[in-house]
């Protein structure tokens, strides 16, 4: 038996199998176990768009990747060090991701002619030489599982379905982990299915025992990953979608207002609807609308009625909501639009991640219609970004875009529990007092008297005595709110709408430099979910002695006031993003700076190495020095 302490103090494990093999469950339970071990980690579920693709096909392969380490883990890892493949299709799809030397554990029971045909494989890959240079361990996982669970009363199909827990048992042994917490979880999860409960526990134990005792275990190494240094405190594991839902609920609590979340099902945004539906006791109500437009309109109707209206979708759905967002701008009503971005255009790549809706958020409406845009940079950050988005919406009485993406929505990692008592409550724009309600003109002026600093107008909902008034999408008089087609008034209203968004820069924090100095030869600027890969690449480059800094943006519109001055301190600005260069355009437009875009739209997050390579290429002399 070998015990390996990985050089980088981290290791990347990828589970892959058929959609029905339960690899997502296996992966999430392994992540849970990793959390308890004290290691840092990031997970990345990578599943197909089809719900139940034909069994055994390559397009039906579902995978779950986890990067775990005794140091800060910022991404789900560039390349897997270990692959557990439950069928030939899973091997075929994932083999190109593996570096030579990687450990591959195969379920040999699935390596038969029938499955080769389904995966369009001509010859058994174990015989073609394509696995040369890899460390291959063959285990008849299905057979082992069936044998382990034969006394539990499960039928053949039910017994075979326990093989993910058999695999988990083996992996737990590889990492020296306790089985007890997983057993507890199985007991709760399958409390109403005694057969499955017994079967999964038997499979878990059998997998563990197999790896530990059977002769073959000489081939299975054990990995030693210590605890990662983290600030002391309480932690939990959280996906971006869950953290964002919690953040919206927290915003409601901090503003002491109800949240009404109106949404229409769409991948990858639907988990928000599912999570929030279970947060009723936190003052949240959810409404599944008939379409994307209705979802946006119902959210605006809710805001008009005095609740915090939130709508959510992904790119195609956001496109449909556009006209309604214009009305919220015109009517000066708060609204948060969450965009869980995915690959586009059109239907594009629904389950794959991209950051290609930045133009849509910043620029994409008819008329001069500015909207603030906030982005989230990792799963835990979604919580704070959500609160920020609602804060801006309520303070400035405006719709706000909150950008996340398919990667952060599904990825998870350890998260230091936020201290709610330390988050500043959200201010609203209360109903004005001291107004003579019999003076119609005074009432109108009070309704449309905007705050001098934020330009937020009083939030007056129907039911408020004495303030009955009409509002709509036709241009209104800046003082009375009455319909106005007056030329000067439209100019004044447009100026006000722009000033309102610009003034948000006075409320948000100055941009900080996350790593490195405030000037130098190169800064890597990012936004959104590229944060982890950029952080690690910059970190590694700095360890190599390269003078590179990192700036990560949260506020996309308006940009922080000091950003232009800050960027002027660097000779070059490298901007990695998962689109064809949208943030690069934004910075050129707003700050007139020269940006070197590093773009990627493969549906997969950036690899650290891809960014590191460009850092080296953009620091004069760096490559030569390395050579």
């Amino acid at each position: 038996m070998t015990t390996i302490i990985p050089k980088q103090q981290s290791i990347v494990v990828r589970f892959a199998g058929d959609s029905g093999d339960g690899v997502q469950l296996l992966g999430s339970q392994f992540a849970e176990s990793t959390a308890l071990s004290g290691a840092d980690f990031t997970t990345f579920p990578d599943f197909p768009a089809e719900i139940r693709a034909p069994v055994g096909t390559t397009f039906g392969v579902s995978a779950f990747q986890i990067n775990l380490g005794a140091r800060r883990i910022a991404t789900s890892g560039d390349a897997p060090d270990v692959l557990i493949a439950f069928n030939p299709a899973a091997l075929k799809v994932n083999l190109p991701l593996l570096p030579k030397g990687a450990l591959i554990i195969l379920n040999t029971d699935a390596f038969n002619a029938r499955n080769f045909t389904k995966a369009n494989i001509e010859t058994d890959p174990r015989e073609t030489g394509e696995l040369d240079g890899f460390q291959v361990v063959e285990i008849a996982i299905s057979t082992q599982t069936m044998e382990a669970v034969k006394d539990t009363g499960l039928g053949k199909k039910g017994a075979e379905q326990c093989k993910n827990f058999w695999g988990l048992g083996a992996v737990l042994w590889m990492f020296g982990r306790e089985r007890a917490p997983i057993e507890e979880w199985i007991k709760t999860k399958f409390a109403n299915k005694p057969d499955a409960l017994a079967g999964n526990i038997a499979a878990l134990n059998a997998g563990h025992a197999y790896a530990e005792t059977v002769e073959i275990s000489a081939e299975i190494p054990q990995f030693e990953i210590g605890e990662a240094p983290m600030a002391s405190g309480d932690y939990r594991s959280v996906t971006g979608a869950y953290a964002l839902s919690l953040g919206l609920a927290a915003a409601g609590e901090l503003a002491d207002k109800e949240i009404i979340f109106a949404s229409y099902p769409i991948t990858p945004a639907s988990p928000l609807l599912h999570h929030l539906t279970k947060m009723g006791d936190l003052g949240v109500a959810t409404f599944q609308a008939e379409d994307e437009i209705a979802a946006a309109c119902a959210a605006i109707g809710a805001s008009y009625g005095g609740s915090i209206g939130i709508t959510s979708s992904s790119g195609p759905g956001i496109a449909l909501k556009t006209e309604a967002i214009g009305l919220a701008i015109s009517a000066e009503l708060p609204l948060v639009i969450v965009n869980s971005q995915r690959g586009g255009p059109s239907t594009g790549l629904p389950t794959k991640t991209e950051q290609s809706d930045l133009y849509q958020a910043v620029y994409g409406r008819n008329g001069d219609a500015p909207v603030p845009v906030v982005s989230a940079s990792d799963p835990g950050d979604c919580f704070y970004a959500a609160i920020e988005a609602v804060r801006i919406a309520l303070r400035h009485m405006t719709p706000v875009f909150l950008l996340t993406d398919g990667y952060i929505a599904n990825a998870s990692g350890p998260w230091a529990l936020p201290d709610m008592s330390k988050i500043e409550p959200l201010s609203t724009n209360p109903v004005p007092d001291g107004i003579d309600l019999n003076d119609g003109d005074a009432v109108k002026r009070a309704i449309w008297k905007r705050d001098e600093k934020s330009f937020g107008r009083p939030w007056i909902a129907p039911g408020e005595a004495g303030f009955a008034h009409r509002v709509g999408g036709i241009e209104k008089d800046i003082r009375t709110g009455d319909i106005s087609y007056d030329a000067d008034n439209h100019q004044a209203m447009s100026d006000m709408r722009f000033a309102k968004i610009d003034t948000i820069a006075d409320f948000i924090p100055d941009q900080t430099v996350e790593q490195g100095d405030e000037n130098g030869p190169l800064v890597v600027v990012g936004w959104g979910s590229t944060h982890g890969a950029i952080w690690r690449a910059v970190n590694q480059a700095r360890e190599e002695g390269l003078n590179v800094a990192q700036i990560h943006l949260r506020y996309m519109n308006p940009l922080p006031k000091n950003l232009g001055k800050l960027l002027a301190g660097y000779d070059r600005i490298l901007l990695p993003e998962m689109n064809m260069g949208q943030c690069a355009t934004l910075l050129r437009d707003k700050l007139e700076v020269d940006v070197i875009p590093l773009t990627k739209v493969s549906g997969q997050p950036f690899k650290i190495s891809e960014i590191l390579e460009q850092i080296r290429a953009n620091i004069p002399g760096a490559i030569q020095a390395a050579e």
């Binding site: 309480d234 936190l282 309109c297 109707g301 809710a302 009625g305």
Partner: protein
């Protein structure tokens, strides 16, 4: 105690900008009168509209009002009713706004049965965009976009509503303020989405399209004012509607002719969906137009009531985010 509000108290300081002679003026007057009659509270009443001539309505009512975007008023009204179910919400729409661009939303509003009133001003034409044919225009309607006459089959607002699952369907005529007001009161009384189609004369682009039953000379013979539990009589009670069980159709019969007596006349049962369907479908060429409450079959609760009744805490904030954060697996560092 303040003096009761009158119709005038529901008017605003805004100049009404419909074409002179537009049917909308009569409807506005009728609604303002109805508001006074039902003792509506302006601060708790909201008029929500989409886009079109009819959708300017909220600006002329001294209640709360929200003039939204084309076709989407049902969705805004839904969100508003969820935020505050106590509000008395009236939606104003037209045949283009409600049945063309907004047909989808109207369908879902009606089936959900949110407690509010929908007034659909049907003038069978697009007025605000200068006279194109609408989904309710009769086949052959000549318009700027159909110079040779429209070739589309028209949609029946009532049949659409019934098919969508509406449980209150009524009809009225713009200028028949007395009758329309009674219909609006019934709509207001109903707990759920009350759908009222109002035949409204567009004097500029589709004048007199309804004159076959609205003109004074024609009204008596061609209007059938239905009342629950009363025989379906018209033409000064000389004629009535009978049900032919062999053909499964309604027929017009004259009392005293062919042995027809009052006992033969179909008695209106507003809960009977089949009768509602047949009354709605009666072709104008051979039948009177059925007006009043054609269908009223109340559900046990409206959507907005069910929405909050089914909410785990009835909309109250009983939990704390800090507690939910700690649920599940927590570890210390």
């Amino acid at each position: 105690m303040n003096a009761p509000l009158t119709a005038k108290d529901f008017a605003t300081d805004q100049e009404v900008r419909w074409c002179p002679g537009c049917g909308d003026y009569a409807i506005l007057k009728c609604v303002q009168k109805t508001m006074a009659d039902i003792e509506a509270k302006p601060d708790e009443t909201v008029f929500v509209s989409g886009i079109g001539c009819s959708s300017r309505f909220p600006y002329y009512m001294s209640t709360y009002g929200f003039h939204t975007i084309h076709g989407r008023a049902p969705a805004f009204a839904t969100g508003l009713k969820l935020a505050n179910p106590d509000l008395d919400v009236w939606m104003v729409t037209g045949d283009g706004d409600g049945l063309s661009i907004g047909g989808n939303h109207l369908l879902h509003l009606l089936r959900r049965n949110i407690n509010m009133q929908v007034l659909l001003f049907n003038n069978e034409i697009y007025g605000l965009t200068k006279g194109q044919y609408s989904p309710t225009s009769r086949p052959g309607t000549r318009s700027p976009s159909s110079p040779k006459g429209s070739i589309e089959t028209s949609v029946s607002a009532g049949a659409f509503a019934l098919g969508a699952g509406a449980r209150f369907i009524a009809r009225g005529i713009d200028t028949d303020i007395k009758h329309l007001s009674e219909t609006l009161k019934a709509a207001h009384h109903y707990n759920g989405t009350a759908f009222v189609e109002i035949y409204q004369n567009c004097i500029v682009y589709n004048a007199d399209v309804f004159k076959g039953f609205t003109e004074k000379a024609a009204a008596t013979d061609n209007q059938l004012h239905v009342q629950h539990g009363k025989p379906l009589l018209f033409a000064k009670e000389t004629k009535g509607i009978i049900f032919n069980a062999k053909t499964m159709q309604l027929e017009v019969a004259t009392l005293g002719e062919n042995g027809i007596s009052l006992d033969d006349i179909l008695v209106h049962d507003s809960r009977n969906k089949a009768i509602a369907q047949m009354l709605i479908d009666m072709p104008e060429s051979d039948y009177p137009i059925a007006l009043g409450v054609l269908y009223e079959d109340p559900a046990e609760a409206s959507f907005d009531q069910n929405f909050w009744n089914n909410h785990p805490t009835n909309g109250k904030r009983t939990g704390k985010v800090a507690d939910l954060l700690r649920q599940g697996s927590i570890w210390q560092k």
